[in-house]
Structures are given as structure tokens and as C-alpha cells.
């Protein structure tokens, strides 16, 4: 510290001092309160993005205020500097120092998780095998050849007025409109004009934007687009199309191949496969209320396979991935399991931080039992 220039030392002292904390904590509490109440109106996903996973947010659309990243980053920085530079390494302060270390680990875990964590879910029918995990929120426009993904465009880049090209394919999409949560109606019931230019589903159906569902994963995203520039036999495919999430694919025949345009949740492929052997829902006797769920699966990694069970409060961890029993679905003649899948490099830090914080606070209370030291 003494080697640093005086202004920098002053700044670091300010960062590590109580004055910053005095204003930082109420600001953080206020942000959490506002972000929590906002969840009722805009849903958890939007509220989290706006208030907690942001450096700055615009209150009322114009007033810039510090977001969760900024406040928590400052808090972590302040606490780390205080811990490293100002801690009194005495027996009496051992509990407090440990508690501070626990909090730093918790925040470090949070930072690593926010940078590296991938969350998603996989739905598998009994007897089926899958390695595909779909994201909860991220959508993409995909060009598919059978089951092979040829190209994908994140939905955030699908904006009205933009033109999308798919490298290597003579396909150019002019985005006419998009909807975060589409209202799908019969074209005859909508105000949309009927013209000879309409192709595929667009001939019978129209989509329009409606109020987003607070639960982002429940929104049906969609787009209206125009294809032109196709020539020869493909020329008749020039026209206006609609496409929406979980709806039928738009089929195009290009250079003798049938390709499909699909809008759906972003897919990730696991480096191993999961086969669902059985999914079991146990009800409380005499009711339809679930008492427990579990899925019996077989993991196949290369040439090796082994059985495993994933149950409520009993996840399966393998190769950095963790599988949780999330839900259960009963289709007409088969049962399906929904497994939440996460990969988080910072997963162990909260456990360590919690343990150290608990020990630290216990030690502090124990050491204070005699006298009234702070």
C-alpha cells in the first residue's frame, strides 16, 4: 500500500472503508425490492435481466441507475479490499474475518456462475435416448437438413427490416415483423391482407404481437419473413411466410434438397447420451398429489454405459453437468420426464462460502460471550 501514490491509496481506503458500504447496502436493498416487485408484472426473466444481471438500468426508461452487477461488484471489491488490507488478524476478530471470507467466496461463486453457467432442460420419452438440452430462454432460427443443423441465427438478431443470409445456401430472408409472444389466428379472422404472395402456413394463418407472458419460457416467439431471389424451379417458393415457435417447420426445396426453417429454443448437445428407462410419479395415497418423482436412466459415454437414478432433491452429477428431476409429463400412450440440466464451474463455491460464513459467525458469537467486544 505504501508504495502506491497517495490519491490511489486514498481511493483504495475509500473503497475498503465503511462509508461506501453505508450507501451501498441500502442501494442494494432498494434494487432487490424493486426487482422483486417487478417480477409480478414482467416476470422473473425480464426482471432479472433488467435489475440484477445488469450494470445500469434505465428507471422509467430514461433515468440511469446502478444495476445489480455494479452494486454487487462494488460490494465484493470493497469487502475484498477490506479483508486483504484492513482486517485485524487477532483471535478476537477471527470469526469476523472468516465470515467476511465466506461472503467473498459466495460472491466469487456468483460471478463465476454468471459468466459460465449454462441452464437448460431435456425432455425424454420412456425408452428414448437423447443428448439434446434446450435452453429455457434463448431462441434461434435454424436451417435444418433432416436432423442435421446447417445454420442457426440467435433470435435477438432476427429483427424487422433485417435481411438474413445463410452462408453456402441460396437463401435470403427479409424479416418483415417479429413477435416475442405471438397471437396465432386464422388469416380470415385477422386484419392481415390476403394475397397471392403468401406461402405455406401464411396462407391460412396470421401472427400478431401480443402482451408478453411474464414467464418468458411460456412465450411463443415468431416472425413473418419474405423470401425472394430464388430462381428456376425454386422460383415459385418466393413469397411471404410465417414461422412460430413449436409450430410446423417451413419446408423449402433448394438445389434438389428439402431443407427446413425452424424456430425453437436453442439446443446444446451433451458429450454423452441419456436414455430414459422409466419415470415414476408416486402419489400420496388416494390423491393425485405427487409425493415424489424419479427417473431411472442409463448414461452412455463412449463405449461405457451404466444405470443411474435422478430424483427430487437427488440430482445426478457427471462431467460437470448436473441433472435434476424437474417435471413429469403423461402423453397419450407414453410417459416423459423433464430433466433440468446445468453446467456451472462456480457451483462448489457457494457450498464452501456458506460453510465458512457459518463457522465465522458462530465463532464470532462464541468469542463475544465474555465482554462486549464488537
Amino acid at each position: 500500500m505504501v508504495l502506491l501514490p497517495a490519491p490511489l491509496r486514498t481511493f483504495i481506503n475509500w473503497l475498503a472503508g465503511p462509508r461506501l458500504l453505508f450507501w451501498l447496502l441500502p442501494a442494494l436493498m432498494l434494487l432487490i425490492t424493486v426487482g422483486t416487485i417487478a417480477q409480478k408484472y414482467v416476470g422473473l426473466y425480464i426482471a432479472e435481466k433488467t435489475f440484477f444481471s445488469s450494470f445500469i438500468f434505465l428507471a422509467g426508461g430514461w433515468l440511469p441507475l446502478p444495476g445489480g452487477y455494479l452494486l454487487m461488484g462494488l460490494f465484493t471489491l470493497s469487502l475484498t479490499l477490506k479483508f486483504l488490507l484492513k482486517s485485524q488478524w487477532t483471535r478476537a476478530r477471527a470469526g469476523i474475518n472468516l465470515a467476511h471470507m465466506g461472503v467473498i467466496l459466495l460472491f466469487a461463486g456468483g460471478i463465476i456462475s454468471s459468466l459460465t453457467a449454462q441452464d437448460g432442460a431435456m425432455t425424454i420419452a420412456e425408452g428414448s435416448t437423447s443428448a439434446q438440452v434446450h435452453d429455457y430462454h434463448q431462441r434461434e432460427l435454424m436451417l435444418v437438413d433432416g436432423t442435421r443443423l446447417l445454420a442457426a441465427v440467435p433470435y435477438e438478431q432476427v429483427q424487422a427490416g433485417r435481411t438474413l443470409d445463410f452462408a453456402g445456401y441460396p437463401l435470403r430472408l427479409h424479416i418483415l415483423s417479429t413477435c416475442r409472444n405471438c397471437n396465432i389466428t386464422r388469416r380470415s379472422d385477422s386484419n392481415e391482407p390476403v394475397s397471392d404472395d403468401l406461402r405455406g402456413m401464411a396462407r391460412g394463418m396470421a401472427i400478431s404481437d401480443t402482451k408478453p407472458n411474464p414467464k418468458d419460457e411460456a412465450n411463443t416467439t415468431g416472425l413473418t419473413f419474405r423470401i425472394d431471389g430464388l430462381s428456376g424451379d425454386a422460383q415459385e417458393q418466393n413469397g411471404t411466410y410465417i414461422l412460430f415457435e413449436d409450430g410446423p417447420a417451413t419446408k423449402l426445396t433448394l438445389e434438389g434438397r428439402t431443407l427446413e426453417l425452424v424456430l425453437g429454443k436453442q439446443q446444446r448437445t451433451l458429450p454423452f447420451q441419456v436414455k430414459l428407462v422409466d419415470v415414476v410419479k408416486v402419489n400420496y395415497p388416494g390423491t393425485d398429489t405427487a409425493k415424489s418423482y424419479h427417473s431411472d436412466v442409463v448414461i452412455t459415454d463412449g463405449a461405457v454405459s451404466w444405470p443411474a437414478r435422478i430424483e427430487m432433491n437427488g440430482p445426478l452429477r457427471y462431467r460437470g453437468y448436473t441433472f435434476y428431476q424437474s417435471s413429469f409429463m403423461q402423453a397419450q400412450d407414453q410417459e416423459l420426464t423433464v430433466l433440468a440440466v446445468s453446467k456451472d464451474a462456480g457451483q462448489f463455491l457457494p457450498y464452501l462460502g456458506t460453510l465458512i460464513l457459518a463457522i465465522g459467525l458462530l465463532m464470532h458469537i462464541y468469542l463475544r460471550r465474555v465482554g462486549d467486544q464488537p
Binding site: F22, T36, G286, K291, P350, G353, R368, D372, P374
Partner: protein, 623 residues
């Protein structure tokens, strides 16, 4: 002397009258014995006593109405439906609804099924239309009408629960040679009767039933009664009193389900026969036969199931229902608060009642502990799994914290605050669980004793410690600068709040670990998580501000008193949002109460703070 002689004479007369009444009392049916029998309801096997009380509370608002106990009412409902339909059963609190149903006005607003029958029939179409509407758009009158129809439907199902072992409402044709047969006895004749009736009941006779002979009329009426009973029984699943253990199943079935589904066995047949014996004894008002039938039924039912702990748990639950331990605890706490009043100025050691108040408070805490222990043993899980249960547990933590703090400080105000707060929690708890003390089962994600123990108990104990801290802070704030200034207690306040910080911080983080185990993420900014985090941040803020000298002791006390507001918002306020994964805690209709609590506390803290500052008391300096 004359007075004593008169008194003895009166006493002698009373004893003689009591002795004379004994044979009559002996003839009274022991309805409580029915309450000992087990039934499966809402996923849990419980005594009929609990079932009857819960249903009574749901329909009539209280377990005992006009002197009729819940088990007496249940016995009449099951064994003598005609009599039961005259008993007060449904509370109709809505004046508009009472007028619409043409019900007479009476103090308790409780009516028999027979009184409601006409009104129910008249409003059936209206109710059917209302059900089609969006529930959020319904008016209070519409909601109440739908609710009453649902209650009547449920009660009708219960009325028919044992109709298969009761005498049929129509006399048996002489050709059957049956006297007062039940459905079970007569059902085997139904195919023959049907063939006979079909043979003589031509379309012409259907239109002119007066041309039927008396015997034919009796046959047709008897057949109709059989068919009507069976139709009523086809969906009758409410009275699940027959265990299916012989089928290696944890399920229990209603008698009608056993008969209609064909899941009969010698065991189930024996049980149904014993139910019939109980019904006969009830209808004959034969106390000895009733006792004997219920005893046999109790033994046979328990023998037919496989849970070795069930008999003890059933007995415990009946005892728990009878003791009303939560009421006992609340009353004891109020008494403790009253007793400590004389000591408010001089301290607990100065006056005898005040000295007793600690002991009385301890007794109340024991009663509350016993009540929670009963629930743990009955439900075979930790004491907190719902919002309702968290209120009971927090009450206990506050009471124990106050007891411990008072032993050290002898501050009567801690007894008063520490007794009244749990009383308020015990009184308010039923409002967040409007079906009463139903001892509910938990959703799948909560069904883990490990996490319910370490996370939920830790965080709720943290709420309790926070509230106890707030009580002490309030007292210190109120007395600051007066003759009874308690500023010297700041170290105690500090230690209490440190315990609160430890429990809430660790509890919150353990919740994160549980979330990581079951939902796949440690922290998800869920409202309940955020609420708990705000309590932790508040405590950290107040502590660090005091340590750094940024706030004075008076403001420190005010900040700790405000902990009550922060806890209330985190505990109940976030549930009003009805969003997030902690859906089991969602409640409605407490927004105004919570707002009032917050406003009142803010006002009280502000006033106390300003008054204390005006008193210009010397500040206490400490490290």
C-alpha cells in the same frame, strides 16, 4: 351452621340426582369412540375425529355447533342421514345469499341440509352458469354461492358414504323375504327384479302407474331404490376407511369403491360387515353394542393395514385434538403478560405476580413445544413445511428467546413482548390456513426431512430471533432517556441481533444449497430468496453502521426495531406477489393487514425516536 347444613343438603341432592342420571348417561352412545377409527384423507391416514372436526370447520365454521360435537354429527351423518339432514351443518354468513335461499335469520347463521334443499335446487342453474366464468371475475355473492353448492355436494357424498349398509328407503317385496334389507343384502336380487319389472312394466303402465298392483309397485320402488343407491355410490370416494394392504397397496378405499370396483376380499367384507354392525347399534341406540362394534372395527381395521406406528399416531392425534394445546399456550402467554404488568416499573424480582410471570411463560412455551412435538410425531416430518406452521414455530422461538433473555435481564417488558408476540402469531396463524388445523401433506419438492430440518428450521428460527430482537429494541427505544433507560442493554441487543444474523444468513444460504440440489441453481432471485436476503443485508447494514460510528445508539435501536417490518415483508409480503418457485407459500387478502402493520410500526418507531431525542438523554458509549 344452617348455612353449612343447607349446603350439605344441596350437595347430597346433587349427588343423588347425578347417581340417578348415571344409568341414563350409560345409555348415551360414546361418539368419541367413532373418532378413534382411521380414515385416509388428503394422502394421510388420520382419525375420524380429525376428519369430522376439519369437515365441520369447513362447513359450519366450528367443530361444535349448538352443543353437537363433530363426532356425534359424523355418526348421525353416516348412520342416520335422515336425522343428520335436520342438524345444523352449513354456515351461510352472506346475508344476500341467505335472502336468496329464503333462509330464516338466526344468530349462528347455521342451517340444516333440509333447510337448504329448496334453495339449492332453485339456484342450481345459476351456480352452473357461474362456474363457467373466470374465477377472478366472480363477485363475493357468486363465490359464496358456488362454495355453498360445493359444500352441499361434498356433504351429500358423505351422507351416502355408508348407504350400502343402511336399511333401504323402500320396503322389500314380500317375494324376497327380507326384513329391512340393506343394499349389500339386496343387490344380488337386482338382476331378477329387473327382469321381473321389465316384464310387467309396459310403456302403457309407465304412463299409468296407478294401474300397477301393490306388489308390482313395491317391486318397482324397491328396484328404483337399489339403482339410485348404486348410482349415488359409484363416485363415492370420500369415506376411505377400508385399507387395501392385502393388495400390497398404501391406498384405502371407501366402502362403495370396494363394492363397485370389485376389490372385495374376506378382509374388506369383514370390515364392511363390522361397519354395518356399528350402523345397526347406532340406529338402535344400543350403547353396549355400539361400543362393541366400534371396538371390533377399530381392531380389525388396524390389523388390516401394515403401518406399525399408526395406532399410536391415531391415539396421539385424537389427544392432540382434545387438548387444544395451541389455545392453552396462547392463554398462558396472555396470563404471563398480565402477571408481569406489576413488575414493569420495578423489575421482575420486586413483585410476586411478576416473579410468577416467567414461570407461567415457561409453561406456555412447554405447551407450545408439546403441540409442535405432537405435529412432528403425527406427520412424521419436521415441524415447518407451510406458512401456517412457520408462524407456530416462530412463536415458539420468540417465546424461548424472551425466556432466556429475561432470566438474564429480569426485564418484565421482555416477558410482556415475548408473550404477546407469540400469542398474536398463534391467533393469526389460522387466517393463513383457512381450513383449520388440517395437518397437510407437502408437495414433492418439500417432501424431504433433511432440508426441512436444516434450512427451514434455521431460517424460521432466524425470523423468530429477529422478532425477539425487535421487541427488545422497541423497549430500549421507548425507555431511552427515561428513569428506566435500558441503554446499558445494548450489548444484549447486539448479541441477539448477531444470533438473528447467524440464523437468517445461514438459513438463507442453506436454502440456496437446497435450491441447487433440487432446482439446479444456487440463487435465482426468487421473491422468497430476495426477502430473506434483504433481512440479512438489513442486519449487516445496521451492524456495520454502528461499528463504524455512522449511526448513534438511538438510531441503532430504531433500526433493530424496524427489523419487525423487514421480517414481515420478507415472510409474508413476498407471498402476495404470487410469483416464483416458492408457490406453496402464496396467500391473498393480507395486503391491507401487512400495510397496516408496516405503517403502524414505522409511525411507532418514528414517534419513539423523536421522543427519545427530545428527552436529550445522555448517550451511552461503548466499544
Amino acid at each position: 351452621m344452617n348455612l353449612v347444613a343447607r349446603a350439605l343438603s344441596r350437595l347430597g341432592l346433587t349427588v343423588m340426582l347425578a347417581l340417578a342420571a348415571l344409568p341414563a348417561l350409560a345409555q348415551e352412545l360414546d361418539y368419541a369412540a367413532l373418532g378413534q377409527l382411521p380414515i385416509l384423507e388428503d394422502g394421510r391416514v388420520k382419525p375420524l375425529d380429525t376428519f369430522a372436526r376439519n369437515l365441520r370447520v369447513k362447513l359450519a365454521g366450528q367443530a361444535q355447533v349448538q352443543g353437537i360435537t363433530a363426532t356425534h354429527w359424523l355418526a348421525a351423518t353416516l348412520f342416520d342421514p335422515a336425522d343428520a339432514s335436520q342438524m345444523p351443518t352449513f354456515k351461510v354468513g352472506n346475508a344476500h345469499l341467505r335472502a336468496a335461499l329464503k333462509l330464516p335469520e338466526r344468530a349462528d347463521k347455521t342451517y340444516a341440509l333440509s333447510e337448504l334443499a329448496m334453495g339449492m335446487a332453485a339456484t342450481a342453474d345459476q351456480a352452473a352458469e357461474i362456474i363457467k366464468k373466470d374465477p377472478k371475475t366472480l363477485s363475493r355473492d357468486e363465490n359464496d354461492l358456488i362454495k355453498l353448492h360445493e359444500h352441499v355436494l361434498a356433504y351429500n357424498q358423505l351422507l351416502q358414504g355408508l348407504s350400502l349398509v343402511l336399511p333401504l328407503p323402500a320396503p322389500a317385496p314380500s317375494s324376497l323375504a327380507l326384513s329391512d334389507p340393506t343394499y349389500l343384502q339386496a343387490q344380488r336380487f337386482e338382476p331378477d327384479l329387473l327382469a321381473q319389472v321389465r316384464a310387467f312394466l309396459t310403456p302403457e303402465l309407465i304412463n299409468n302407474p296407478e294401474r300397477l298392483t301393490a306388489d308390482q309397485q313395491q317391486q318397482a320402488a324397491f328396484l328404483a331404490a337399489l339403482q339410485q343407491l348404486r348410482q349415488g355410490g359409484e363416485h363415492n370416494q370420500m369415506l376411505r376407511v377400508i385399507p387395501l394392504n392385502w393388495q400390497q397397496s398404501a391406498d384405502w378405499l371407501a366402502p362403495w369403491q370396494v363394492v363397485i370396483s370389485g376389490k372385495s376380499s374376506p378382509i374388506t367384507q369383514d370390515l364392511i360387515t363390522k361397519w354395518q354392525a356399528a350402523a345397526s347399534a347406532y340406529r338402535a341406540k344400543d350403547a353396549a353394542a355400539w361400543r362393541s362394534a366400534l371396538s371390533a372395527l377399530h381392531t380389525a381395521t388396524l390389523a388390516a393395514q401394515s403401518d406399525a406406528t399408526l395406532p399410536a399416531r391415531l391415539q396421539l392425534e385424537v389427544l392432540f385434538n382434545q387438548l387444544h394445546l395451541f389455545d392453552v399456550a396462547a392463554l398462558t402467554f396472555v396470563l404471563a403478560a398480565l402477571l408481569c404488568l406489576p413488575g414493569l416499573r420495578q423489575g421482575l424480582r420486586q413483585r410476586l405476580p411478576a416473579r410468577c410471570s416467567w414461570l407461567v411463560m415457561a409453561l406456555g412455551s412447554i405447551a407450545l413445544t408439546a403441540a409442535l412435538a405432537c405435529r412432528v410425531l403425527i406427520l412424521q416430518r419436521p415441524p415447518v413445511g407451510t406458512l401456517y406452521e412457520s408462524m407456530l414455530f416462530v412463536g415458539l422461538i420468540v417465546a424461548f428467546t424472551a425466556l432466556m433473555a429475561t432470566r438474564r435481564t429480569q426485564l418484565p417488558a421482555l416477558i410482556a413482548g415475548g408473550a404477546l408476540l407469540p400469542t398474536a402469531l398463534l391467533l393469526l396463524a389460522p387466517f393463513v390456513q383457512q381450513d383449520g388445523e388440517t395437518l397437510t401433506m407437502l408437495s414433492a419438492v418439500l417432501n424431504t426431512n433433511f432440508w426441512l430440518t436444516i434450512h427451514v428450521l434455521c431460517i424460521t428460527a432466524g425470523y423468530g430471533a429477529c422478532l425477539a430482537t425487535a421487541v427488545l429494541a422497541y423497549y430500549m427505544l421507548a425507555t431511552h432517556g427515561t428513569r428506566h433507560d435500558q441503554s446499558a442493554r445494548l450489548p444484549l441487543l447486539h448479541k441477539l441481533s448477531l444470533v438473528a444474523l447467524l440464523l437468517t444468513a445461514v438459513g438463507t444460504l442453506l436454502g440456496g444449497v437446497w435450491a441447487d440440489q433440487s432446482w439446479g441453481r444456487f440463487w435465482g432471485w426468487d421473491p422468497k430468496e430476495n426477502g430473506a436476503l434483504i433481512i440479512v443485508l438489513w442486519l449487516i447494514w445496521i451492524h456495520h453502521s454502528r461499528l463504524a460510528g455512522q449511526i448513534k445508539p438511538l438510531t441503532y435501536m430504531a433500526g433493530m426495531a424496524a427489523l419487525a417490518i423487514v421480517v414481515a415483508q420478507a415472510w409474508f409480503g413476498v407471498n402476495l406477489l404470487s410469483t416464483g418457485l416458492h408457490s406453496y407459500g402464496f396467500i391473498e387478502g393480507i395486503a391491507a393487514a401487512l400495510f397496516g402493520f408496516t405503517a403502524l410500526n414505522l409511525l411507532a418507531i418514528a414517534i419513539l425516536w423523536v421522543l427519545a431525542r427530545r428527552r436529550n438523554a445522555p448517550q451511552v458509549h461503548h466499544a
